[in-house]
């Protein structure tokens, strides 16, 4: 198994981060590193606007990067579980 990095765009709301982090523990996955920032520079996040057909405002969403070591099947399951969280806009593996 190799380490995977997940890139997650989520609403910058109270409690949104803990839902993602809590899900890892709840489902028995391990977080090896975690980095989160509010999105200020919208230029780099045009893909979010294009994919969801929405308009973002500065600081309105956060970008979370989580590293975890899992196999392909579990990775797919984690991505689907995270995507189910109401506050999550986009989740994908960083290749």
């Amino acid at each position: 198994m190799i380490q995977r990095k997940l890139s997650i765009i989520l609403e910058n709301k109270p409690g949104a981060l803990v839902r993602v982090v809590g899900l890892f523990h709840q489902r028995g996955y391990n977080i090896e590193s975690l980095h989160v920032d509010p999105v200020e520079d919208l230029k780099e996040y045009k893909f979010v606007e294009d994919k969801l057909n929405i308009k973002l405002k500065e600081g309105e969403v956060s970008h979370l990067i989580i590293a975890t070591t899992v196999n392909d099947n579990l990775l797919r399951q984690i991505l689907r579980q995270i995507n189910k969280l109401i506050d999550v806009l986009i989740v994908e593996e960083v290749k």
Partner: protein, 578 residues
Amino acid sequence: MKLAGNDILIQSLIEEGVEYIFGYPGGAALHIYDSIFKQKKMEHILVRHEQGATHAADGYARATGKPGVVLVTSGPGATNAITGIATAFMDSIPMIVISGQVAKHLIGTDAFQETDMIGISRPIVKHSFTVDSAENIPEIVKQAFHIATSGRPGPVVIDVPKDTTAPDKLFEFKYPNDVDIRSYKPPIDPDPNQIERAVDAIIESNKPVIYAGGGAINSNASEELIRLNEILDFPVTNTLMGLGVYPATHKRFLGMLGMHGTYQANMSMHNADLIIAIGARFDDRITNTPKLFAPNAKIIHLDVDYSSVSKIIEANIAVFGQVKNSLLEMIELLEAKKELIDPKKILPWKEQISDWKSQHGLNHEMHLCETDDKPIMPQAVVQHLYNITNGKAFITSDVGQHQMFAAQYYHFDEPRKWINSGGLGTMGFGLPAAMGAKLAYPNDEVICITGEGSIQMCIQELSTCTQYNLPIKIININNEALGMVKQWQDMNYGGRHSASTYQSSLPNFVELAESYGHVGIKIEKNSELKSGLEKALSMKDRLVFVDVYVDPDEHVYPMLVAPNGSLKDMWLDKETKT
């Protein structure tokens, strides 16, 4: 119109069409309770414990398909609701739980009756909201109902700090017409390519089985499932949560599958070359050992929840969308390709299944007995209830042997008539769930099939039934022990009944029911069973508690062999294994 936060909250619920709100007052919820007092459109049902409120709302939701609504106070009110929220979460039941909270400036100070409800409930809710200002209440309520009822349904908690419902601050009230949550778009219509692949696999199959679960009920897809099978005429099995979605008296119905499923249902699944899973999630009570599950089957999986597909068993063809919509698309394509379906091809398979059924299917005759030299069999109680009610009653149950006997021997022909805690397995569910169903359908028979263990976990709700005149029938299948625990101890622990018996300390249930103002009937002999049940069910305007003493040594069979067994490995009785 200008309103205070408490009135805004109640008006928002009325806008959502809420008829009943199940709850219990306390300090942090008092502003809200004052608003309830001042209106007449919604009735508040005062329970005797917050767990009862959540189960009653849950029973209402399962019976009607509409969300159940709960109101509790902060701290212990909120924590008492947790078991009921988890129950609804595991079975994907739409529910709104409004919890009072200490005022915003007190949050985090360990104030009186403060608890972090959002934190405590986070793993067992579909979503949750904290009200930050009264102005936002309509938007939050609108979103909460949308989230609870769409996609894969589930409970949503709204935590309401007391100051946001203060009666002295007024805000403009306008309830939103529409809701759009940009980060939440559950699938509705299936991908046509997947429908085509599914239909091709169906046409190619020789040993197909349809396996339908609670998701098909949630999607109100019973009619579509029946129509689909008018074309296919395939064998159908239902999960514990799915009972009723396909008529149990239909000749193609195999019975329930899984841990205590019928021999023919489990054998059909194990030997199938195609399994069409419809709103079912391959949980561990169904698959037994996943590696040994249905070794030759191709899997078509219809579900609204991406994370339920290929979680335990890899799906060959995944159809995402509302199950109802996916079935409609499949029906349309199958009708277009009708000439390609060869009904003769699966005749040997149907014959095989019919042989399995005659070999080891459930034997309805063996439990019935007219004479008093033998104890009452628990299965016979359910069979009599089925006959007396013509299979038309709403049946709620608790958890244990009585639940499995009810599932095996009451044949549900319609969805939403069988109301039980399948996923979480919550003892104490049956009585309050029956209250919710009875409020929703006051003219229908509502029966709680329970055991003397489970009923004592929410027995205080007998008082609620008195207050609101809820003439449900409680059938207490009394074996004077925690029957399912005892069965496992008999089978796996050398008959050492550790903490599973309490014979000398049981209450007199007849007198207990009478003390709440209800009718109590005790049945101890086979010769009294049918007439006693008939008498209880003839008292239409009274709650009747029927305490039936049954054979304490009876086990539930079939039972899957675990661990390391497959679906073909079953105990058929105390001595016989397949």
